[in-house]
């Protein structure tokens, strides 16, 4: 394709007689209207190649008009087109002609598919930067106005995203018009447009003069925050973050806080959820003083909200809220105003709330220090470790490292062990899988002694679980443990047990031996592999089950590189050759593969 694009670099050079290089471009152009979507999509993705070949003039006069009319196409084609046009300025002749790209993007900005519209808006925003100030007012601003006063809400929603890019570079009269248009979209008849306006309100406020923010944006914000539709109101919460950053503390108190307080107590749980979800951002935006006076009481209410979704969202934010409090007086606020409510949540009726809390509560220990942790947090951790819902227990266990730093894990080990054992034997295999994944972490923090004594037998029991996914995870777990505790430990505690399973009457367990060897050989090193593992693998080549035999071939292929060449040639080669003559075709196949990979042929 690069060669084909060559002649096109000189404008107008594509008209040469019977030029061979025209052929691929001709194919691309023809496929713009192929019946196969995939081919159309390919062509659209190479639109720049076509444009290069046509030259800037023909791109403007022929290609763009054609593209403007292709809005009937499939979404994926339109999406690709919208994306391509964002980088097309050079191909139509540079910034002086950037406005030529507006018509096709304008029609893409009105299609019903949100992803396509959003992409068209993104490209329009990109192109707006390439317009000269004169072109911006002559072409881009009129486009925004057209979209903003379009008949259908699709075009009006698209307009909402374009105000902030043209405002900073417009003249003051045009600025006033732009503000006026945005204002009317904020009170549009359809909730779709009001939602779009609400979600762009913060972004627009950032490019406005402070006076306009106070006089125009704040009233709009207040209106949207008390919209009859809760789907609009909840978006105003997001805008609140951006607007709050722009105002002084005094203005904040009088202009924004009444609305924010109202949102935190909104009748609709979805709005309150949004406040909880955006709590950290809000906290940063309003500063420490208002946080302490207003947000902390609001947060208490969210933690005891009647809707579980809201409580769960608030519970997720407990740690971040505490972290971001000013260090001065932080402990007092947490101990007196946050922790009492957190304690309630530990025995919440909803498991999602408890599990959200369990995922962050351990983080409080670093903030509160050793004494408070032992006295106040530890009872909560222990209660959650005994929770009936496995997810809660898992979340506590997965965050043990935070506590370890502060008070050491030993404080917990009494309760930890029963919790781990129970999870390890949970009837749901996904729960068992989750706890296996935390094993290496636990082993690291509890130390080898504790591990050998209490947890080793669990890890071995998983190797013979009746679910394959568990056996597989258990195998990987062993590898990670060996990486942690070293080859000596492996040789003494793991390897004998694993190799013992090679004589198990169940062929699935015999295969587990092979999988373990695959995983462990590298971590254990050449000596253990050659002396202890290899003989077992070779012996298993005579197994009566074909699945075991071909896994022997695969294992040999895997451990081959670790062995020295004499073992490879003297011991491995004959066995693989024998397996290569096996009656089972899969065994033959994998034996042959191993011979090839190990270069033993």
């Amino acid at each position: 394709m690069a060669g084909a694009a060559g002649p096109g670099r000189v404008p107008g050079a594509a008209g040469g007689d019977g030029d061979d290089s025209l052929y691929p471009i001709a194919v691309l152009i023809d496929e713009l209207r192929n019946e196969d979507v995939q081919l159309r999509l390919n062509s659209i993705k190479k639109l720049s190649t076509i444009a290069l070949a046509l030259g800037v003039e023909r791109t403007r006069t022929e290609l763009l008009p054609f593209l403007t009319d292709t809005i009937y196409d499939e979404d994926e084609v339109l999406l690709a087109l919208a994306e391509q046009l964002g980088n097309f300025t050079v191909l139509v002749g540079g910034p002086d002609f950037a406005h030529c790209l507006l018509p096709p993007l304008e029609s893409l900005a009105t299609v019903e598919e949100t992803v396509v519209r959003d992409k068209a808006v993104e490209s329009l925003r990109q192109i707006s930067q390439e317009h000269t100030p004169v072109a911006l007012e002559a072409h881009f601003v009129p486009l925004v106005k057209r979209l903003a006063s379009g008949d259908w809400f699709t075009s009006r929603t698209s307009a909402c995203g374009l105000f902030s890019v043209c405002y900073p570079r417009a003249s003051s009269t045009v600025k006033a018009e732009i503000r006026q248009h945005f204002c009317s979209l904020c009170s549009d008849d359809t909730p779709m447009v009001r939602r779009a306006a609400a979600s762009k309100l913060g972004e627009f406020a950032k490019v406005l003069e402070l006076e306009s923010v106070k006089n125009e944006i704040v009233p709009l914000f207040t209106n949207l925050a008390s919209d009859e539709q809760d789907s609009v109101r909840l978006l105003a919460v997001e805008a609140c973050v951006s607007i709050a950053q722009l105002l002084s503390q005094n203005d904040l108190e009088t202009l924004v806080m009444p609305t924010l307080r109202q949102a935190a107590e909104d009748k609709s749980w979805r709005v309150r959820y949004m406040v909880a979800d955006k709590f950290s951002e809000l906290q940063k935006a309003v500063g420490p003083e208002i946080t302490q006076n207003d947000l902390v009481p609001a947060f208490q209410n969210l933690l005891k909200d009647c809707e579980a979704e809201v409580r769960a969202a608030a519970a997720h934010k407990v740690k971040e809220l505490c972290e971001n409090l000013p260090v001065d007086g932080r402990e007092t606020i947490i101990m007196n105003h946050i922790l009492p409510f957190v304690k309630e949540l530990v025995s919440d009726s909803n498991q999602h709330v408890k599990s959200a809390l369990a995922s962050v509560i351990m983080g409080l220990s670093t903030i509160l220090g050793k004494e408070n942790t032992i006295e106040h947090l530890l009872p909560l951790f222990l209660a959650q470790l005994k929770d009936e819902c496995p997810e809660v227990r898992l979340n506590i266990i997965s965050n043990l490292d935070c506590v370890n730093e502060v008070i050491g894990i030993r404080q917990l080990s009494q309760s930890l062990l029963p919790a781990i054992v129970e999870l390890a034997e949970d009837a749901k295999w996904r729960v068992r899988l989750a706890i296996i994944e935390y094993m290496p972490l636990l082993a690291g923090q509890l130390g080898v002694e504790f591990f050998d004594e209490k947890l080793n037998s669990l890890c071995m029991a998983w190797l013979v679980d009746h679910v394959y996914a568990i056996r597989e995870a258990a195998t990987n777990n062993l590898m990670k443990l060996v990486e942690k505790f070293g080859a000596d430990w492996a040789q003494n505690t793991i390897v004998p047990k694993v190799l013992g399973m090679a004589n198990d009457p169940n062929y699935l367990h015999r295969m587990t031996t092979l999988f373990c060897i695959n995983a462990l050989s590298e971590a254990c090193g050449q000596e253990i592999t050659t002396k202890q593992m290899l003989p077992i693998v070779l012996k298993m080549a005579g197994d009566q089950v074909a699945n075991v035999r071909f896994n022997v071939a695969k294992s040999l292929q895997k451990i081959g590189p670790i062995l020295d060449s004499s073992a490879l040639h003297v011991e491995v080669k004959p066995v693989l050759q024998k397996l290569g003559q096996d009656e089972d075709m899969d065994v033959k196949y994998f034996a042959q593969e191993a011979i090839n990979v190990l270069a033993l042929a």
Binding site: G15, I29, A53, E62, D69, E112, W152, M192, Q229, D230
Partner: protein, 429 residues
């Protein structure tokens, strides 16, 4: 007759719905097809044929399917159609069968691209060596083509049969209700929905009622109602909590002990519920009557209209031929002043809420020629039959009007008899 009926059963109309402007009318049928009619632009020379409806587009919305896990056939019958508020030049509607909801786009195309580099318009290839210049295709006008394309498929969320779909006034969500559950969907997201009502008891033997219909409030986005087979209507507020198992209002009329019979519960089952356009009232249809409820009064309806009270003495035979389980729908006119619902013998009824007058009309080809004025019909319950009256015993229970629709702005109505669609309009002066 059974033979003839079987032949055409795919054509039985199962739902009728005007779009928000009234310019389009969609019908769904038992064969899974959707037919859309478009009102003709007003013709100045023929004033009497104002805005007739002609076929605009026909497409196969659903196909019969088989659920292999449950060994169940899934019928292709269209249970409900709902139009989306118009968002651009194209039109969108939701159609549903028992299990799967689909979003369709109906769009017009009047241009097509012309001009290839390497072949002629008829497909013959050109000699590539003759290509000396590149040619960009150009769009040229062509005859208008209407296309229907499936945009989204919302599947696998209903264990029981979907009886209702309703689009929210926030324009981005809709609900779908089956016998025991109501789900909330986002119109752009097909891989998940939220369960907002679940009345399935832990033990199915304790099941005493099912959801029969559900609808969103026309302008309060957080409010919806659902009706039950026990004759109650529950209004739920989605602001209160994520799961709306607890209703905020329960509309129920105390039963009249004097009318109590074996059939009481069956005939009190609500077959349809519709909010008025204003959002102040809602209308429910049970087997024998239409009731209008003020949303502010839960203990009894503000108006009750008898649709075919003369059938009360026939309930026994209607039970035997299963007619008692027919699900009649009801609708409001554009200004909420008149309501309409169907009956048997191809009769349909209208009730004027202001004058309290009611009328029975007949939709039939035998008795009415096109462009004639409909004559009111009367059914006599017992005793002596007057001239022009029809005896209850001669009513044909196979001819029922279950589905009707009223143009949102004008006095134009669509009435579906078994497999005919009638469109009537106010007399043009």
């Amino acid at each position: 007759m059974p033979f003839g009926l079987a032949l055409q059963s795919a054509d039985i109309i199962s739902t009728v719905e005007f779009n928000h402007s009234g310019e389009l009318l969609a019908t769904g049928d038992k064969g899974g097809r959707v037919v859309i009619f478009q009102q003709e632009q007003e013709n100045k020379t023929q004033t009497h044929s104002r805005g007739e409806y002609n076929v605009y587009s026909t497409f196969q919305s659903h196909e019969p399917e088989f659920d292999y896990l449950k060994s169940l056939e899934i019928e292709e019958k269209i249970n409900k159609i709902r139009w989306l508020p118009q968002k651009n030049a194209a039109q969108f509607l939701l159609s549903t069968n028992d299990k799967t909801i689909k979003l369709w786009k109906i769009s017009e195309r009047d241009k097509r691209p012309e001009g290839y580099n390497l072949k002629e318009e008829d497909g013959r290839y050109r000699d590539p060596t003759t290509v000396t210049t590149l040619r960009v295709p150009v769009f040229r006008p062509m005859d208008l083509m209407v296309e229907a394309s499936p945009r989204r498929i919302f599947a696998n969320a209903h264990t029981y049969h979907i009886n209702s779909i309703s689009i929210n006034s926030d324009y981005e969500t809709y609900l779908s209700a089956d016998d025991l559950r109501i789900n909330l969907w986002h119109l752009e997201i097909t891989d998940r929905s939220f369960n907002i009502v679940d009345i399935k008891p832990a033990n199915m033997e304790e099941l005493t009622e099912v959801i029969t219909a559900a609808e969103f409030h026309p302008n309060s986005c957080n409010t919806f109602v659902y009706s039950s087979s026990k004759g109650t209507i529950r209004l739920c507020d989605m602001r209160a909590s994520a799961l709306c198992d607890r209703h905020s209002k329960l509309f129920e009329e105390p039963e009249d002990p004097s009318n109590r019979s074996f059939f009481s519960e069956i005939i009190s089952s609500i077959s349809d519920v519709k909010f008025s356009h204003s959002g102040r009232y809602m209308m429910t249809r049970d087997y024998l009557s239409v009731k209008i409820w003020d949303l502010n009064m839960e203990n009894r309806p503000v108006e009750t209209y008898q649709v075919h009270e003369y059938l009360r003495s026939k309930l026994c035979s209607l039970y035997e031929n299963d007619c008692i389980f027919d699900k009649f729908e009801c609708c409001w006119n554009g200004s909420d002043s008149v309501v309409m619902t169907g009956s048997y013998n191809n009769f349909f009824r209208m009730f004027d809420r202001n004058t309290k007058r009611d009328i029975t009309l007949e939709a039939s080809r035998e008795n009415n020629k096109p462009r004639t004025v409909l004559k009111p019909r009367k059914v006599c319950a017992s005793g002596k039959r007057k001239k022009d009256e029809i005896s209850v015993d001669s009513l044909d229970f196979n001819k029922k009007i279950l589905h009707t629709a009223w143009h949102p702005k004008e006095n134009i109505i669509a009435v579906a008899t078994t497999n005919n669609l009638y469109i009537f309009q106010d007399k043009v002066n």
